[in-house]
């Protein structure tokens, strides 16, 4: 693969995009998981799919636009995030209802636009399951820009995001502008989800945001450690998943997520063996 990686631009694009996504998906995923919002990724990824399908439909039109399906996906994802926040403030007592609403809206629109854009084709297939050879240089640049933006915002707002995730009331009293930061965070999440779809596909985006975090929480001792380990687990899953997907000719969505699940299983097993060892040590 190394030789192929050096020679084929498409593979290079995929590999770099994978590394970027392996960084930003678990980074934001940590905040998403501790806020108990893990379902949000599923909701937004389906809205992104609707955007992609809409983009494909628009490409078929005689007056085609300059915007690519992938860019439409990002726009839809951000719009979906804003709608979720709006719904949440409208249904204060039933905030979780916002996600199924947005999820079904996304799937509904996606079905319509996929049908209008002539049904399932290889493009849609690669968006659903991920692909090792679908990332263009333009996509890579857009995802690079997204990643830089996400990392900078998280770095600058780290303490505020952390405080808000733990205890919203206290954060508000301390003078944090909770609503503004919530919106910004939702938009970041929307961008990260759209970016990750290029690699792992619509159906498995939420896995890349939550699995590494679930694994990391078992071993980390602090919040900062949770973030670092999540990124580490995320990157390992992406790298192993991309390489094996390439050799086995399987869409990388499947191989990346299975690697992440394996890492989770192994971590749990090691923890279990260690704690058993400790109990035995105490008894002897």
């Amino acid at each position: 693969m190394l030789e192929a990686l050096l020679n084929y631009e498409l593979l290079q694009n995929t590999f770099f995009t994978g590394l970027l996504v392996g960084l930003i998906a678990p980074l934001l995923g940590t905040f998403v998981v501790v806020q108990r919002q893990a379902m949000i990724a599923d909701g937004l990824s389906h809205v992104t799919l609707a955007g992609i399908a809409f983009g494909m439909f628009m490409q078929k039109q005689p007056m085609s636009t300059m915007i690519t399906p992938f860019q439409f996906g990002m726009i839809f994802s951000i719009a979906g995030a804003v709608i979720i926040e709006k719904l949440r403030s409208m249904y204060r007592e039933f905030q979780e209802i916002a996600i199924p609403i947005i999820h079904s809206l996304g799937v509904g629109l996606a079905i319509i636009f996929i049908a209008l854009a002539n049904g399932i084709n290889t493009d849609i297939y690669s968006y659903l399951f991920g692909s090792v050879a679908a990332v263009s240089r333009n996509d890579l640049l857009l995802i690079l820009g997204t990643a830089i933006f996400v990392v900078i915002v998280v770095f600058v707002l780290y303490k505020k995001l952390f405080a808000l995730s733990f205890d919203e009331e206290f954060a508000q009293v301390s003078g944090i502008r909770a609503r503004f930061i919530h919106y910004l965070f939702m938009i970041l999440t929307a961008l990260v989800i759209a970016a990750s779809i290029r690699i792992v596909g619509v159906l498995l985006v939420s896995a890349l945001m939550t699995l590494p975090v679930a694994t990391s929480m078992r071993v980390a001792k602090s919040f900062k450690q949770t973030i670092w380990y999540s990124i580490l687990y995320g990157e390992v899953a992406v790298i192993i998943g991309l390489i094996s997907g390439y050799y086995l000719e399987i869409p990388p969505g499947g191989t990346i997520v299975l690697t992440a699940v394996l890492l989770l299983g192994l971590t749990l097993l090691v923890k279990k063996i260690k704690s058993l060892g400790r109990i035995e040590g105490e008894h002897s």
Binding site: S174, I176, S222, T226
Partner: protein, 250 residues
């Protein structure tokens, strides 16, 4: 006399058709330890939310440090320990130290030096005697220890006014005594003005030096010792509710 830290005047508040506060007025002077008591549903938490600016004022006014609450920007002058503080997600992966650090988010924390921040956090943890648990996960601590960490989080910004809403709920009796001792140290030695909200009128009157009895309207405002001298019937009228005051020896 200096400007009161909190000045509430003619405050009324209602949720839909239901009135929760009616024409409440009082001042909190610097250095005092105020007890705000009242039965459940008497409007205590609403009053605190209005003071903290979480809830919008409908009628009347509140001034903090001489400024209307609407224009007051909290940069750590006022801190808060909530009733809900111990209902956080126990699995949250954060150490005691990290939780305390959340109290330093006001203003721009980007350019504050890390060693300075660490020093402030350690100091706050020392004030509540929790330094040995600094790197422990917050969910693994006992109820009383968690409460101390939340106090440290409120102290880390070096506030002049600390508001505590039912902070002893879920803390066992032994720890409650220690807890009151801690509050009195904060008040006397660090000079922090305290407002302690409670429905337990029995214990609170021995601790505070200014007592407010609230039940929709303010029924009593004054010296807690004088309140203690009153007969049970008189106290019930002030409290605005049938109540059994648990008598205690001084």
């Amino acid at each position: 006399m200096s400007t009161p830290l909190v000045s509430v005047s003619h405050l009324s508040h209602r949720y839909d058709q239901h009135s929760v506060l009616e024409d409440v007025s009082f001042d909190v002077e610097e250095g005092s330890f105020v007890g705000l008591v009242g039965p459940n549903g008497s409007g205590k938490t609403t009053l605190i939310k209005l003071i903290l600016g979480i809830e919008r004022i409908q009628k009347g006014s509140i001034e903090l440090f001489g400024k209307p609450v609407q224009r007051f920007r909290n940069k750590g002058h006022i801190s808060f320990v909530s009733q809900k503080a111990n209902s956080f997600n126990r699995g949250f992966p954060a150490t005691a130290k990290e939780v305390v650090g959340m109290g330093l988010t006001a203003g721009s924390s980007l350019f504050r030096s890390q060693s300075n921040i660490n020093e402030q956090i350690n100091q706050a943890l020392e004030h509540v005697n929790m330094m040995t648990f600094a790197n422990q996960n917050i969910g693994e601590l006992s109820g009383g220890q968690q409460q101390r960490v939340f106090i440290a989080r409120a102290l880390v910004s070096k506030p002049q006014l600390l508001i505590l809403d039912e902070p002893t709920v879920g803390v066992d009796t032994d720890n409650v005594q220690q807890f009151y001792q801690l509050l009195s140290t904060l008040n006397r030695e660090l000079g922090i003005t305290l407002i302690l909200v409670s429905h337990d009128i029995g214990t609170i009157t021995t601790q505070v030096n200014d007592l407010l009895c609230l039940n929709k309207t303010l029924h009593y405002h004054g010296d807690p010792n004088e309140f203690d001298q009153l007969s049970n019937e008189e106290r019930s009228t002030f409290y605005g509710h049938d109540l059994n005051v648990i008598t205690h020896d001084h």
